[in-house]
């Protein structure tokens, strides 16, 4: 052969063309009737083999108190720690001196979903969520305001606990 192809010298007992072919054909044929692993996504969102992890960090959710107000006290820790600088917070104060957010917006395009905002929050108000279906028809719909963050209902992430690394 003109081009240099390295040919392995194998003993005749190791070589098999027809038997190996038939064996392979039997294998592929048997796979025709085996259970399929495909998860039919829009109808099925989890199966016994796969569910979304409870530590999944998806789009945010703001928890509310009994009166339906955001738990946020506008302390400013989350915009401070945010590595992507995606949280916009303008604090306000009412007559009793309670601080509350006048404006609280998260740009989900800038967000890197690190979960630091949830970790740092002293009031357990802002959370990253166990959620992934976020499509919208326009880009500006991806800046979530306070009202929208409070209206989310999906479960919140449990994050990673260093004392329980495997989540047990």
């Amino acid at each position: 052969m003109a081009i240099g192809v390295k040919v392995m010298k194998r003993p005749g007992t190791e070589v098999s063309y027809l038997r190996a072919t038939l064996k392979g054909m039997a294998l592929t044929l048997s796979h025709l009737w085996r259970p399929k692993v495909t998860m039919q996504y829009p109808e099925e969102k989890s199966s016994k083999d796969w569910t979304l992890s409870p530590r999944w960090r998806g789009t945010h959710r703001m928890l509310t108190d009994e009166q339906g107000r955001a738990k946020c006290v506008a302390c400013g820790l989350c915009p401070q720690i945010c590595p992507a600088n995606c949280i916009k917070l303008v604090p306000g104060e009412d007559e009793q001196g309670n601080r509350y957010p006048l404006i609280y917006e998260i740009d989900e395009f800038r967000c890197v979903f690190c979960g630091y905002c949830q970790e740092v929050c002293p009031e357990e108000a802002i959370h990253v969520g166990v959620h992934y279906e976020n499509s919208e028809y326009s880009r500006d719909r991806f800046v979530y305001d306070l009202e929208r963050l409070c209206a989310q209902t999906h479960p919140v992430s449990t994050l990673w606990d260093p004392s329980d690394p495997k989540g047990e």
Partner: protein, 396 residues
């Protein structure tokens, strides 16, 4: 005369429609069977069980942008898809697909053109298909396409000989080149199906047919890993789709040929009721069903093998073609011719089940040592240069 014209036109339309719909469904079948073999589900969204997927694909291909490479030879570039597509369809014209249909104006042969030289017609048109591929590779003005086209022509020529030689054995048994006679000769019993008296010819024919249709393990002209889809790299939209239709039409024709030459054509096994007049519509429909089932089995075999076997290396392909298939076909032809001469001319047997079984026994005797040697790869490995020989030996 006018009845002949009308019945021919009806047959042409019916066969053309059946093949086109069959090809469309075959693309779906290929994808779904491949998916099942890989424990997936495959396309099942468009229509029930994905049955409308081919329509969606076709529509997509029709409205996609057609690209024409600036350096391409425009005439040949546009001609090539048609050149690969038309011979694939034309070949089907001489294949008898059912028992004759009785009508008030006389029996109608269920074959588009009952050519006296049907056999030679198939060999002629079967090899024309390579023109489309070679022209596509050449006119694209792209080195990968050209390599694909060259590979296709070398491969086609190599295996065409083995294919032709294996079918000569059929001619020896049948004694006629008309395909309707080939079917009639096989219909006496199950064992007169040519696959029994001519098992090895059938084996050679099937292997060569895989090479002729450029299907895995012989899809060297495409070889997406090394040639970026080879001859149809530069094609887009419907022209690309035409190559696909051509490939699948070739598969349909090759499967129909295997059925006709070796598996009794439209003959229903275990009964001779379907082979003799008086003809009836029921007979036509049942034999058509029989033919379709056999053809579908071979189509499944094509798909099944494709999703099982890896591609041959190019030198292995050539070694198999020239150093195994061709000598094998020639030797086999000699043996079979001698056997037929002995049985027919010396012992005076007529062609019936006894004759076929005697040949079948001979085939078994030949097949055992042949498959033993083939399996150990002695013939294929023997064609490979010894370690260190040849200029660049060892430089991968």
């Amino acid at each position: 005369m006018s009845f002949f014209l009308i019945s021919s036109i009806v047959k042409i339309l019916a066969v053309f429609t059946a093949i086109m719909v069959g090809v469309a469904l075959l693309t779906l079948a290929e994808r779904r069977i491949c998916a099942w073999m890989q424990d997936r589900l495959g396309p099942n969204r468009v229509g029930p069980q994905g049955l409308l997927q081919p329509a969606a694909d076709g529509l997509k291909n029709l409205i996609k942008e057609e690209t024409l490479p600036a350096q391409a030879d425009k005439v040949l570039f546009l001609l090539a898809p048609a050149m690969s597509f038309i011979p694939a369809l034309l070949t089907f014209a001489v294949i008898p697909f059912a028992a004759p249909l009785p009508t008030p104006w006389g029996d109608v042969d269920m074959v588009v053109a009952n050519l006296p030289v049907g056999f030679l017609y198939i060999l002629a048109f079967g090899s024309l298909g390579v023109y489309g591929i070679v022209l596509a590779g050449w006119s694209s003005n792209n080195k990968y396409s050209l390599l694909g086209g060259l590979r296709a022509s070398a491969q086609m020529i190599s295996y065409e000989i083995a294919l032709g030689m294996s079918t000569v054995a059929v001619l020896l048994v049948v004694g006629n080149v008309t395909l309707t006679d080939v079917v009639a000769k096989q219909s006496a019993s199950l064992f007169t199906w040519n696959v029994f008296p001519l098992s090895l010819a059938c084996f050679i024919f099937i292997v060569a047919a895989f090479a002729e249709t450029n299907r895995l393990p012989f899809d060297l002209p495409e070889a997406e890993g090394e040639l970026i889809a080879g001859y149809h790299t530069e094609y887009s939209a419907m022209k690309f789709s035409m190559f696909y239709i051509a490939e699948y039409s070739n598969m349909v024709t090759a499967s129909a040929l295997m059925t006709t030459l070796f598996f009794g054509g439209w003959d229903i096994p275990f009964t001779t009721w379907d082979n003799a007049p008086p003809w009836s519509v029921l007979k036509t429909l049942l034999t058509l069903g029989s033919f379709t089932l056999k053809t579908l089995f071979f189509l499944f075999l094509f798909i099944w093998v494709r999703w099982t076997l890896p591609r041959f290396r190019y030198d292995q392909l050539m070694a198999l073609g020239w150093k195994v298939m061709l000598p094998l076909a020639l030797t086999y032809l000699t043996v079979i011719a001698t056997a037929i001469w002995l049985l027919h001319d010396q012992l005076g047997w007529t062609y019936d089940t006894r004759f076929a079984l005697a040949l079948f026994g001979l085939n078994l005797l030949l097949a055992v040592p042949l498959f033993f040697v083939l399996d150990r790869g002695h013939i294929i490995a023997g064609s490979v240069a010894a370690e260190g020989a040849g200029g660049g030996g060892g430089r991968a």
